[in-house]
Symmetry: C2
Subunit: 230 residues, 2 copies
């Protein structure tokens, strides 16, 4: 069943795309996909789909942010991914979604019917290859995050997280649309630990905090030192 998306707005796709910067660069040769996508907008905290739902659609984020969550039996939550502009959602799903997806901040997306994507991929080798490449990239990111979760201290995890967000945004001014709880559930830390580490980084003048959801990297070298990643 396709629950969620109750408040979304659908707009015919292909025309009037808000011209998101750098979108095409992330996945080349995907222009044909635009023809079969529908633009939707989803409000903060709305679910896109739930773990175990039949996977009917794929999504691509244009603006905003989405979190991919898994719940443990006793209620603990793990945020596997933050999907940011340019990211695809759900490509790894077989028949059912392996995680639930919720919108972190008001988000504009393209929604693709699965069967249309598959038909297109069967027809055009370039599309199929691009999709495989997106999966490859995700797998690679997943492996890095496993090493982070398995081996790194709280400070190292957050330093890496900030650097990763900076890479995605392309500037040293970073928007963090998600809550501290989201970040904690993503990095395997409690909200308090996340807060303490951020405070420490501010005290050491490694980051500056403009507002709750907007920080700036003041000393990138120091941050890279803290991040340690090979």
């Amino acid at each position: 069943m396709f629950r969620g998306l109750q408040v979304q707005t659908e707009i015919a796709a292909g025309r009037h795309l808000p011209e998101p910067k750098g979108l095409g660069s992330i996945v080349d040769g995907m222009a044909a996909l635009d023809q079969i996508g529908v633009i939707i907008t989803v409000k903060r905290d709305e679910p896109l789909f739930f773990e175990g739902d039949a996977a009917e659609f794929y999504f691509k984020v244009i603006s905003g942010a989405v979190r991919g969550c898994k719940l443990l039996a006793d209620g603990r939550r793990h945020v596997g991914n933050f999907f940011l502009p340019g990211d695809f959602i759900g490509l790894d799903a077989a028949e059912y979604h392996a995680f639930s997806a919720e919108v972190v901040a008001d988000t504009i997306m393209v929604r693709y019917a699965r069967w249309k994507v598959h038909a297109l991929a069967d027809q055009e080798l370039a599309i199929a290859r691009s999709l495989v490449n997106v999966m490859r990239t995700e797998l690679c990111a997943a492996r890095n995050r496993m090493a982070l979760l398995g081996q790194m201290s709280a400070m190292e995890r957050i330093a890496n997280f900030i650097l990763m967000m900076a890479d995605k945004s392309g500037t040293r001014d970073i928007s963090l649309p998600m809550t501290r709880t989201d970040i904690g559930d993503h990095l395997g830390l409690t909200i308090e630990t996340v807060s303490r580490v951020f405070s420490r980084l501010k005290k050491d003048h490694i980051i500056e905090q403009q507002s709750l959801h907007h920080i700036r990297i003041a000393d990138r070298d120091a941050l890279v030192d803290l991040a340690d990643f090979s």
Copy 2:
């Protein structure tokens, strides 16, 4: 460069496959792949390839075990996967391998030249689909392991690990060819913690230990309780 594999033995593939039980069931429609594979045997602790190596080959484990490792700058190690009979190695690689692979115990594998696999996949839709499905499965497993590494206690991690190994082996007698260090680096725990948890499980009669690398699940229900996974 293709380092490693110094001690391997190559045997013409396709014929005389040791008929590994249940292999075909893992990936269907892959029979055509056998035609382009070469059987190799690799000894304990030999490297298959290193992180950053050009990805020239894919591998499929027939018997034995391989570990996929990532190294952090300061030498800490993370074992992302144990590849067991039936598992493919390196499918997620783009141009270069994202992790290094070392043989845990004497292992028989099939080695496929990348370009041959790609050519075959471009030609036969069924092959391409199978490869994508293998990647999907891996991505799904990676997400589960992230949740494990991010949220679970030492006991929960090891309970899940044992159950996962039991699922793969299909019996409640489980062979653990890897060392405690390998298990620790896989689960984000130290060797001492791994050892203590195993001892605890033995004391509580949840597992029995035949030998260092061979355990048996005595009380599966208790183990599932401890594992908690949703």
